[in-house]
């Protein structure tokens, strides 16, 4: 059996509930905070001590509520993350008219950033069909400032079966380091296609916008994205 085939088969057969719209951590925090108010506090504490305790518990609850905004989640879908892919095998194709000057960057993102660096595999199909995971396109994306975009076009219970990925070379080429910048945007969209989230502070290709330097790290996924997310899931 191919590496990961069993896992892929299992993933296809299970149902993934969509993430709840309410915040479960916050809900727990509410319950924790409300609990002391519903029953008497131990009598050994003075009223002042009880008040201070209540204040501390409240602050902890508020801090817990704030945590998810900064948590590095994965595969939950937009707005911050892509949907999970259907399996470790990530097939791709060039869409109609896909710019020849971008093809090597798409290949790099799929075959090197993903397949070489992680447990995933990639396979380029000669034409796009109903089994293709990622269709690469180029376009004059709107509005200004948009360098690339990812859209899932076939979604099943939080798993994206097919996605369209776009690059806008004219927009990417604004500024310097065009070659590395194109690779970065291709890697970025490939990252969304397996479930990675955005980040202006992350030190890999999932950062938004132009790369700050030509260092290799901006065209690849960092250890955290690989070891804690991609290789865990696929």
């Amino acid at each position: 059996m191919r590496r990961g085939a069993k896992k892929a088969s299992r993933r296809m057969s299970r149902v993934r509930p969509r993430p709840p719209t309410s915040n479960p951590v916050a809900t727990v925090a509410c319950a924790l905070t409300a609990a002391p108010a519903l029953r008497p506090l131990p009598s050994v504490l003075t009223l002042t001590q009880r008040s201070i305790l209540a204040l501390v518990v409240s602050w902890i609850a508020v801090a817990i509520v704030a945590l998810p905004a900064n948590a590095d989640t994965f595969g939950g879908g937009p707005p911050d993350e892509g949907y999970e892919a259907d399996s470790y095998l990530h097939t791709y194709c060039y869409g109609p008219g896909f710019d020849a000057g971008l093809q090597s960057h798409a290949n790099y993102a799929m075959d090197t950033s993903l397949a070489l660096d992680t447990d995933m595999s990639s396979y380029r199909q000669s034409s796009c069909d109903t089994t293709t995971d990622v269709r690469w396109m180029d376009s004059n994306l709107q509005p200004a400032g948009v360098r690339g975009k990812y859209t899932c076009v076939a979604l099943s219970s939080g798993i994206c079966l097919r996605a369209d990925v776009y690059l806008d070379p004219a927009e990417i080429d604004i500024g310097t380091n065009d070659f590395e910048d194109r690779r970065k945007s291709a890697c970025h969209e490939a990252g969304h296609s397996v479930g990675l989230r955005h980040g202006d502070s992350v030190s890999d290709c999932m950062r938004n916008g132009e790369i700050p330097t030509t260092a290799l790290k901006w065209r690849r996924f960092n250890e955290h994205h690989i070891d804690d997310h991609i290789n865990v899931e696929y």
């Binding site: 509410c30 399996s87 109903t130 975009k149 369209d164």
Partner: protein
């Protein structure tokens, strides 16, 4: 003293629970559907330092109210290929021009394009899909995106819109139903990723394409329309 402690506790609990709740207000159903659908597309974009910088880049910045939405143009990558991008045109009644070119306004309205895939399929649960020789699931044929259904979810809310003039900037040269969704000859705009901001009835700001809390520090600290308009300068 004990009463005071409990009051503080209840106050913090209320704050925490209000953050835990999902979007509320009279537009809840529409707004949530609209956001869920709009945010299915993700962008790699050039972030700005804040509203002032984006206002400098935008062709027009307005405070206004969404008053309508209609299916718009479709775009195909090549003349003999099916469209890949469909759009909805959102009409905004202008309340105040905050910056930029008033020539983009027609009869006190601006028209703003929102893009979707032209073909889409969403299955409620994993089906026993057939697989190919590589084990890849074979998906059923995609269906034309229901732009009319999406248009019905667009909330009639007030917002601040940082707009780019895209009248002569199609995704591709092949445009189907050219001019659809807006009066003939009227300019077409698109909201910047950071610049599509709705205001709830209780005054909260919601970043439609990208949540404000995920943006750079210059955006994160904004909590009211007043903060936003002041930041534009």
């Amino acid at each position: 003293m004990r009463t005071l402690g409990l009051m503080i506790l209840v106050a913090f609990t209320a704050i925490a629970c209000s953050q835990a709740a999902s979007l509320d207000g009279p537009q809840q159903g529409d707004l949530e559907s609209f956001l869920a659908e709009t945010r299915k597309t993700q962008f790699d974009y050039e972030p700005t330092t804040g509203p002032a910088e984006l206002a400098g880049l935008a062709d027009l910045v307005v405070r206004g109210r969404i008053v309508g939405a209609e299916p718009g143009q479709l775009y195909a990558p090549l003349p003999d290929e099916p469209p890949a991008i469909a759009t909805t045109v959102v009409a905004v009644e202008v309340i105040e021009v905050l910056a930029g070119d008033k020539g983009l306004i027609h009869e006190n309205r601006v028209y703003m394009e929102v893009a979707h895939p032209a073909f889409y399929l969403e299955m409620d649960s994993d089906q026993d899909l057939p697989t190919d020789s590589l084990g890849e699931p074979v998906t059923p044929p995609l269906e034309p995106y229901d732009t009319a259904a999406f248009a019905a979810t667009v909330p009639r809310m007030e917002g601040v819109f940082f707009l780019d003039d895209i009248t002569s900037e199609p995704y591709w040269e092949t445009v189907i139903d050219k001019g659809a969704g807006r009066p003939s000859g009227v300019p077409l705009t698109a909201a910047y990723v950071e610049g599509f901001i709705l205001v709830t009835s209780d005054g909260r700001l919601i970043g439609v394409t990208a949540p404000i809390e995920d943006l750079t520090a210059g955006w994160e600290r904004l909590t009211t329309v007043g903060d936003l308009t002041s930041a534009i300068g």
